[in-house]
């Protein structure tokens, strides 16, 4: 991560870079300087050094946009522009985003703040920003044609309103949405309560769910894809590239998730129960909350979960739609389970020397096989843990809970060291003979067939 110049407002040195704007300082005098981010790594929380105090959030694989105070108004500068986003090590996407990344930086303000946002358009077409979920004057709602003219390329528009309602929000264009959202234009917005003690938590993670259809070997999302996406992401990042959410044992942890994909996602946390404490509409009344381990987040919705991280370990946190925890895969590939290929391989390799038979015993092979792939793509299920292949990619990360972490320590603590005797183990003694009911054939219409595991020897 490179910081080219310190941000004039004294934002913590937390990985903020100024773009070397070539515009004359006179012309730009009225505008806050443009701050840009060059890395997809998770940045530490941006501690507020002016304005009202609040407990900052941590944006998963993202960052918070610094601001300047101008006569009591918090001024932000968002630049809509093409960006190159690393979706995971080994794969980069040509997206559209804000200030160097997709999604754009998180905007954090406090209930009652007067907010002025400069939006500069460096895209090849007009854009706008809609402040999803906010109460604001109609003319600030950012719907091109309906509430404002589009921001043409090279132009800067100013949005100004009071952040009235505390809660969890997002921003995205409302101009050529199909293209601009599919290209990754979106960002998180948190309005903190005036009272920092209100529903205070120790760790507050935020991210957006988004999805892309990027053909292996290419870089730009197919913007016409309707449902058959192949990359399911948290903040335009896919496992194994998503940072873990690190928490100290006993911390109260909040995870805020917004869904900007075109399908719902049942988000599932292991080892803990959580409650949904907030929706797009605000905080949920405490007496209406019920515990669960999976909460479905519908399209366009936001949810805030809370739980006490009392169980140390590396806990999976993922979408429960199993295809969403894959990366790029062929959706027309026939099922090869139980298909004998042993006699064929020689014949095929005489024509196709690099041929290997795959999928005969399931797809788990894919976790360990390291075969050359097309440029710029990720193996299907390549996440690795301390015990081997995790078999998941995409919308998957971990909540890493450790004892005695410092309050602001978000550093990946590495693999969890399990206390002796707390890991599932292989039984080494002889098994008693198994009595199984045998399947019977009813005529020759239906064939029951037990699929016995076969050796992986030939791979």
């Amino acid at each position: 991560m490179v910081t080219r110049r310190n941000f004039l407002l004294g934002a913590s040195a937390a990985g903020v870079a100024l773009s070397a704007a070539k515009v004359s300082s006179v012309a730009m005098a009225a505008l806050p300087q443009i701050v840009s981010m060059e890395t997809p790594d998770t940045q530490p929380p941006l501690m507020p050094e002016n304005g009202r105090p609040y407990n900052p959030v941590v944006t998963l694989n993202g960052w918070t946009l610094p601001w300047r105070m101008n006569n009591g108004v918090k001024e932000f500068h968002l630049v809509a522009e093409p960006v190159v986003r690393e979706m995971a090590p080994g794969m980069k996407a040509h997206l559209w985003g804000y200030n160097g990344q997709s999604p754009g930086p998180t905007i954090e303000v406090v209930e009652g703040d007067r907010v002025r946002i400069f939006v500069t358009n460096r895209l090849p077409e007009h854009t706008s920003i809609h402040w999803h979920g906010q109460r604001l004057p109609n003319g600030m709602d950012g719907v091109t044609g309906l509430t404002q003219a589009g921001i043409n390329p090279g132009k800067t528009f100013v949005y100004e309103f009071e952040a009235k309602r505390p809660g969890t929000f997002m921003y995205h264009p409302h101009a050529d949405e199909m293209t601009q959202m599919a290209m990754g234009m979106m960002g998180f917005w948190v309005t903190h309560p005036k009272n920092p003690k209100f529903m205070a938590v120790d760790r507050d993670f935020v991210f957006l769910l988004n999805s892309f259809d990027i053909d292996p070997g290419s870089y730009t999302p197919k913007i016409t894809t309707m449902l058959d996406f192949n990359l399911w992401a948290f903040n335009s990042r896919v496992a194994p590239g998503i940072s873990p959410m690190v928490a100290g044992q006993g911390d109260r942890v909040r995870i805020r998730v917004g869904n900007l994909t075109m399908t719902n996602h049942p988000m599932h946390l292991h080892g803990h129960e959580f409650v949904v404490v907030g929706t797009d509409g605000g905080w949920t009344p405490p007496n209406s909350r019920w515990p669960e381990v999976t909460a479905d987040i519908a399209v366009g919705q936001m949810r805030a979960f809370e739980f006490i991280a009392d169980e140390p370990g590396d806990w999976a946190f993922h979408c429960h739609k199993s295809h969403h925890t894959m990366n790029a895969m062929g959706h027309d590939v026939p099922t090869m389970i139980g298909v004998d290929q042993s006699k064929l391989v020689d014949r095929i390799t005489s024509l196709i020397p690099d041929y290997m038979s795959m999928g005969e015993s399931g797809m788990a092979d894919m976790e360990t096989m390291e075969m050359p792939l097309p440029d710029n793509t990720l193996p299907m299920m390549s996440g690795q843990g301390q015990f081997g292949g995790i078999g998941m990619g995409g919308m998957f990360t971990t909540v890493k809970i450790r004892e005695g972490l410092a309050r602001n320590d978000y550093k990946d603590p590495g693999a969890y060291q399990h206390p002796v005797g707390t890991v599932a183990y292989e039984m080494n003694s002889e098994l008693p003979p198994v009595q199984r009911q045998t399947a019977t054939l009813s005529g020759d219409e239906i064939e029951f067939k037990a699929r016995k595991p076969v050796s992986h020897g030939e791979h």
Binding site: M336, G338, P379
Partner: protein, 478 residues
């Protein structure tokens, strides 16, 4: 009509002696050559193909040809080996060599004195005799002999040109048959690879159904592709049979010798293409069919002159004669007999008109051949160039692109982005593309042979022919 002429007998031998000397002088320029005229043919053909020709006349000749052939057959044949074998063994060529013999015999015959004729009449009535004896000689043939010799010499030279032409045509056809056979071999090999891929697909499909993962419909489709591919192999093999037998026939091989082997691959495309400087003029200068026709028209011109000169006289014979009339004891009356036909009804105009027509026909055939030769050489050069470009395009563009597609597909298969079936179909397409390149390369070599032929004689254009492979590719785009 016989006119007995009173004359001294002494003069008869003198006339005969004169005739004898004339004929001996003439015979001096028309005797049989040692090589039967093949030397000139060898010399001409050597300029175009550095190959030996052998007129197999004796057992020793036969042995030498056989051992040299067997030597060549020991290893995979090069195109030059195939041509050499054909020149040694092709019986059609041997037959053509005998045209030389026939033509030379005509020439020698023309230079020979016609045989003298002896005629005798013997009648008897009550002791009265009539005896007429004559020993005549066609002196007119002596007058026409130099002209006739000239004509026959032209015709002999023409035969030599034609024989050279036969040699070169055989060489050319053998070259083309050779390239076709090698290409047919390679095509068969590639079609077998296509079949292997289709077979693997079909078997995989069968296993898919067995495992319960696929519909019978899908299996039937894969089986259909396999059936198509098997047909492709059968067609390629049929082509191969035709090509091999054509080559075998031209090389004049039979029995064990038909087990010859060919190399696995066609020769590579040459680095550069021949330039077309003055090819039309070259063709005009060296085409043997033009030379042969020119000699023929010259002979016909002579023939026309001769016909014009001799139209009034068919036969003029002269020789000593003696007649006895009366008693057997009476003396013979001696004299000359001169016989000739006087064309009272036939003034020879029809013969002259015929000779003129034949001559003018030859002139026009010569002109047509020259015009066509220019066109043929242009056509064959352009075909040669475009076939070069096509083969090069296959080699440098299409085949590498196909390979790149295959490599990318392999990567996509590795990532489970496409199925094994797609990979196998792709392998078939790649193989087919390589095969199309082989065919383009074959067409180039054929057109190169056509071009060489067009510079020597009339080519039989054969490049750019369709092929079963290409027909298959149409149906294979699944």
């Amino acid at each position: 009509m016989t006119i007995p002429m009173a004359s001294s007998l002494v003069s008869i031998p003198r006339v005969l002696v004169t005739l004898f000397f004339i004929s001996v002088t003439l015979n001096g320029c028309a005797s049989f050559s040692k090589d039967g005229g093949l030397g000139a043919v060898q010399k001409t053909t050597k300029d175009f193909i550095s190959k030996d020709i052998q007129w197999v006349k004796s057992l020793e000749d036969q042995d030498s040809v056989q051992s040299r052939t067997e030597e060549l057959l020991k290893k995979p044949l090069t195109v030059n080996d195939a041509v050499q074998i054909a020149l040694f063994n092709n019986k059609g060529l041997q037959a053509a060599f005998y045209d030389l013999g026939i033509s030379e015999a005509d020439l020698v015959q023309t230079g020979k004195l016609p045989n003298p004729r002896f005629a005798m009449l013997h009648t008897k009535n009550n002791g009265d005799y009539k005896i007429e004896q004559s020993f005549t000689f066609n002196i007119f043939s002596l007058l026409t002999m130099p002209k006739a010799l000239q004509i026959e010499k032209r015709l002999f030279e023409q035969t030599q040109r034609q024989t050279a032409m036969e040699v070169l045509r055989l060489a050319n056809e053998t070259r083309k048959a050779y390239f076709k056979a090698v290409a047919a071999d390679q095509s068969t090999h590639y079609m077998q690879q296509v079949r292997t891929a289709a077979e693997a697909s079909a078997e995989l499909a069968r296993n898919m159904v067995k495992a319960g993962n696929w519909r019978k419909l899908d299996q039937a489709r894969e089986q259909g592709f396999y059936a198509d591919a098997a047909l492709g192999v059968a067609r390629a093999e049929r082509n191969k049979i035709t090509a091999y037998e054509e080559l075998t026939r031209l090389m004049g091989l039979w029995g064990k010798q038909t087990q010859f082997t060919l190399p696995e691959r066609l020769p590579d495309l040459p680095l550069t293409v021949d330039e077309s400087n003055n090819i039309e003029q070259t063709a005009m200068d060296q085409r043997l069919d033009l030379q042969s026709l020119r000699l023929q028209t010259e002979a016909l011109a002579n023939q026309l002159g001769l016909t014009k000169a001799t139209r009034f006289i068919n036969v003029l014979e002269v020789g000593p004669a003696r007649v006895l009339e009366g008693k057997r004891s009476d003396p013979y009356k001696k004299g000359f007999e001169i016989t000739f036909e006087i064309p009272i009804f036939d003034w020879g105009t029809a013969r002259v008109a015929r000779a003129e027509a034949i001559y003018m026909q030859a002139i026009n055939i010569l002109a047509e051949t020259a015009v066509n030769a220019r066109s043929e050489v242009r056509q064959s050069y352009k075909l040669y160039r475009s076939n070069y470009d096509i083969a090069k395009h296959y080699r440098d563009e299409i085949v590498p692109i196909r390979k790149r597609i295959s490599a990318e597909n392999q990567l996509r298969y590795n990532g489970m982005l496409i199925s094994a079936f797609e990979l196998l179909v792709n392998a078939q397409l790649q193989v087919s593309t390589v095969n199309s390149y082989i065919e383009a390369l074959r067409d180039f070599w054929l057109s190169q042979s056509d071009l060489e032929m067009a510079l020597i004689g009339k080519p039989l254009f054969s490049s750019g022919t369709g092929s079963p492979m290409r027909d298959n590719q149409m149906s294979m785009s699944h």
